[in-house]
Structure formats: C-alpha cells, structure tokens
C-alpha cells in the first residue's frame, strides 16, 4: 500500500514543485519585464465593429485603435462603424467627433442585358477582370457593369447581388462602405455615395450622346434637362455625364422624374422607409 502512495506522491510532488518554481520565476519576470499598454487602446478596440476589413487603411481593428490613440488616425476614420462608432471612439478619446456621413457603394450602371447591346458572346472565366481583358468585355458599352460577380466575391458583407439580367446591385442596408468592391471592379463602375442621399446618376459612359444612344437605352445622353431642372444647382456636367454634388442635393427627386432616359435612379422607397423609421425613433421617449 505504501509503495502505491509513493508512486503517486512523487510524480505529483515533482511536477507540482517544478510548476511552482517556474511559476514563481515567471511571476518575477513579468514584474521585471512589464510593458505598459495604454488602456485606451483596448477601450477603443472594444467599440469598433471588429470586422478587421482594413477599410480604414491600416491592417485590422487593433491597428486602427493604436493609430487613433497615437493620434495618427482620426476618431471617425472607421468607415464601417459610421457615426455611431465614431462617437463612441471620440468619447473614449475625450474629443468631439465631427459627425461623419455614412457612405455606401452604388453601381452606377443600369444597362443590364435587356437594355444594353452585347458585341459578342463571352464564354470565358466567370469573372469581370478576366472578361474585361477580352476587348473590354462583351458589352457594347465600354464603361458598363459586366455582371460577372467579381464585386460579389470581393464583398466581405454579402451586400452585393447579381440581378437576373446580369448586373450588380448593392443591397444598401448591408453595405458598410468598406470600398472593397470599388477597388475590385475592373470597370470602375462602383461609386461611393452618401447613405442619406437617394438619387444617383446611374450611368458611367463618357462617350457623346450619339454613340452611346445606339448602345444602351438607359444611358445619360447629355441633354442637361436635369441641370436646368435642379432647384439647388446641385447637378453639374462633366465628360458627357451629369454629376450630382451631394453637398447641395436635397433629395427632391426632380432630376429623377425629368430624366428622359431614366439614367438618374432614385430610391424613393428607401427614403420613405428611412424617414418613417426616424419618425418612430422620435416618438419613442
């Protein structure tokens, strides 16, 4: 019986003793090599979305938190978190956030397969970057969306879908504004637009009206009706395309109604929804 107890006691004592000695040594070492970490870094890190998408320009949310605390990055530098996140970060840092406008991506092309003519049938790899290498894609319009899902694969938030007529569409409510699709798109047909503006010029073709009209039925033909119609002079004209200055835009939808080719897209449903949501929020105490 004694032997059995010894057989258990010695290993326990030996391992326990070793563990104790090492633990004491490590405890001493941790005191000696203690590194001060700014508690603000962890606090800032906690209020960030934690998607580690890199949209802010530094790798990961940890990097962003360190940058903010070091004063190298602005408190509202996280495009994914939007104004809520910026406010929380500003609170941790003890400064005022300037209020950041949430930006979302929008595909500035409506020329799907029913509206825009095809030059040839593309049967290669199902990828816009690959397709764009073959004479700039099968579309007759060299500026339009090819609809082969390159942006869908680039989006970390599943916020892009391809419609049945082969064109990319951003699901605005899911979009966080990380700009991954903007960089991925070989046609540069995705733009960043403020979340609370509901009109967009959905055409990217910079060719003169005569040429573009033969190719696509929903293109901007440069008639400048919208420029004249806009009550706040928010629409300019550049490279045969109308451009909206979102600083001035008041969401009146006049340009959308006046546009003869429906090249200006308005999301009246989304505006109503957002407004009604806001009203509900206001009624709550």
């Amino acid at each position: 019986m004694n032997i059995e107890i010894e057989a258990i006691m010695y290993p326990v004592l030996v391992l326990g003793g070793m563990g104790f000695v090492f633990a004491t040594g490590l405890a001493y070492a941790s005191q000696k090599f203690h590194v001060e970490i700014d508690p603000k870094i962890t606090q800032v890190r906690d209020v960030l979305p934690g998607a580690n998408c890199g949209a802010c320009g530094v790798p990961g949310c940890d990097g962003f938190a360190r940058g903010v605390v070091a004063g190298e990055l602005p408190v509202d530098g996280c495009p994914v978190g939007g104004s809520e996140c910026a406010e929380a970060v500003a609170q941790v840092m003890g400064v005022e956030s300037g209020g950041v406008t949430k930006m979302v991506a929008k595909v500035i092309c409506n020329g799907d397969s029913t509206k825009c003519k095809e030059n040839f049938i593309y049967e290669g790899i199902e990828d816009c970057t690959a397709a764009a290498l073959v004479k700039g894609g099968s579309k007759s319009c060299a500026y339009g969306c090819l609809g082969l899902s390159t942006c869908v694969r680039a989006c970390p938030f599943d916020a892009i879908e391809i419609t049945e007529n082969k064109i990319a569409k951003i699901i605005i409510e899911k979009c966080t504004g990380c700009k991954k699709c903007v960089t991925a798109c070989p046609k540069n047909v995705i733009n960043m637009v403020p979340y609370d503006k509901y009109v967009v010029v959905a055409c990217n073709n910079k060719e003169p009206a005569k040429i573009v009209r033969a190719k696509c039925s929903v293109s901007c033909i440069g008639c400048k009706i919208c420029v004249k119609a806009c009550p706040v002079d928010a629409i300019g004209f550049d490279n045969n395309l109308a451009t909206i200055d979102y600083e001035k835009c008041i969401n009146c939808f006049i340009c959308e109604k006046k546009c003869p080719t429906k090249a200006i897209e308005g999301e009246i449903d989304r505006m109503k929804e957002t407004k009604s949501k806001k009203k509900v929020n206001h009624q709550l105490p």
């Binding site: 030996v14 070793m18 090492f22 490590l26 090599f33 590194v35």
Partner: protein
C-alpha cells in the same frame, strides 16, 4: 571532450541531421514565419534561446530529478513544462525589448511551446546519452540549423514575390515545393559525418 567531437556534433546537427529539412521537426514556424528574412531571423534567434536553455534545464531535470526517483515516464510532460515556461519568459523579454518583432512573430511565438523541434531536441539529447556540455552544443547546432533553414527559405520566398508564379501555385503550394527542394538539397550532406 575533444574539439573534434564538438565539431562533429555541430556539423551533424546543422547540416546532416538538420532539424527542419532532414528530421522534419518544427515545420509549423518554418512555413508560418518565413515570409520575411527579418522575422525569420528573429524566430531563429528566439528558438535558439529556447533550445539552448531548454536542453540545459531538461538535462538537469532528467538527471537530477527524474532518474533518481525513477520517474522517466514523466519525461514528456516535465519537458513540456520546462519549455512552456521558457517560452513565456522569451515572450516577455521580446515584448519588452522589441515590440516590432513581437508583432511580426505574432501567434508563432507562443507556439514555440509546442514546437516539436524543441521537444524533439530535448528528448534526442537524452536518447543519444549526451553529456551536459554536449547537449548544449547539440542544442546550439540544432538551433543554428533551424535558423539557417528558415532564413534561407524566407530569402527564397522573398525573391519569389517578384516572379510570375502560375495562379494555382501562388502562395503556399509553391512554398511547399521549395521546401521539398531544400530538403532534397540537404539530403546531399548525408555521409558527411
């Protein structure tokens, strides 16, 4: 112990029985931290430190604690305990002295704990019945061999960035192919000692 036997141990552990390329131990950090020569070198140094101290400590633990009590069957767990504490110590030292290296080593630093090259070395020391000094020399040789392999590999991978690798081989697959070529090259040292 003569100078020639030191030399033989060193050559055999650095080249002939290179821990990574001939014994296939410590593959995890070899593949994980070999994207840049600088971090690879840092990893090599960290492993060197851990290996040298670990072989000294495990030698003492084995011969002064385990053998007298006939507890050799506790070898693995006792050695892991020693190695884990040493790695903790190294981690603290690196975090204090070089935050950049600490950042770039990342998760691979605490993973030295389970780096089989370190455990393999300490167990080999006992199996080969080396004396204390021989064990430390063997450890240094093994660590130099590890550092040599990982730095060479990192240098090749750095160069590789500039070459047009076919799409399916980009990144990890080509790294594995390179590792196998290096292993073949080190096979040429067989018979040197």
């Amino acid at each position: 112990m003569s100078a020639s036997s030191i030399f033989i141990i060193l050559v055999s552990s650095i080249l002939v029985n290179n821990f990574v390329l001939s014994r296939f131990l410590g593959i995890c950090p070899f593949l994980g931290v070999s994207k840049q020569v600088e971090t690879a070198f840092g990893m090599g140094m960290a492993v060197t430190f851990v290996m040298a101290l670990a072989s000294l400590m495990t030698y003492m633990v084995h011969h002064f604690i385990l053998v007298p009590r006939e507890l050799e069957y506790l070898q693995t767990i006792a050695f892991i305990l020693v190695i884990a504490s040493l790695v903790q110590l190294v981690e603290m030292i690196i975090q204090k002295s070089s935050p950049t290296l600490y950042q770039s080593l990342g998760v691979y630093l605490p993973l030295i704990t389970t780096n089989c090259a370190v455990l393999g070395l300490t167990i080999l020391n006992i199996q080969m019945e080396l004396s204390m000094i021989e064990a430390v020399i063997h450890a240094i040789g093994a660590a130099v061999g590890f550092s040599l392999a990982i730095v060479l590999f990192a240098a090749i991978r750095e160069k590789l960035e500039y070459y047009n690798v076919p799409e399916p081989f980009k990144g990890f697959p080509i790294a594995l192919i390179i590792a196998s070529f290096m292993s073949l090259a080190f096979l040429g040292f067989t018979g040197l000692v």
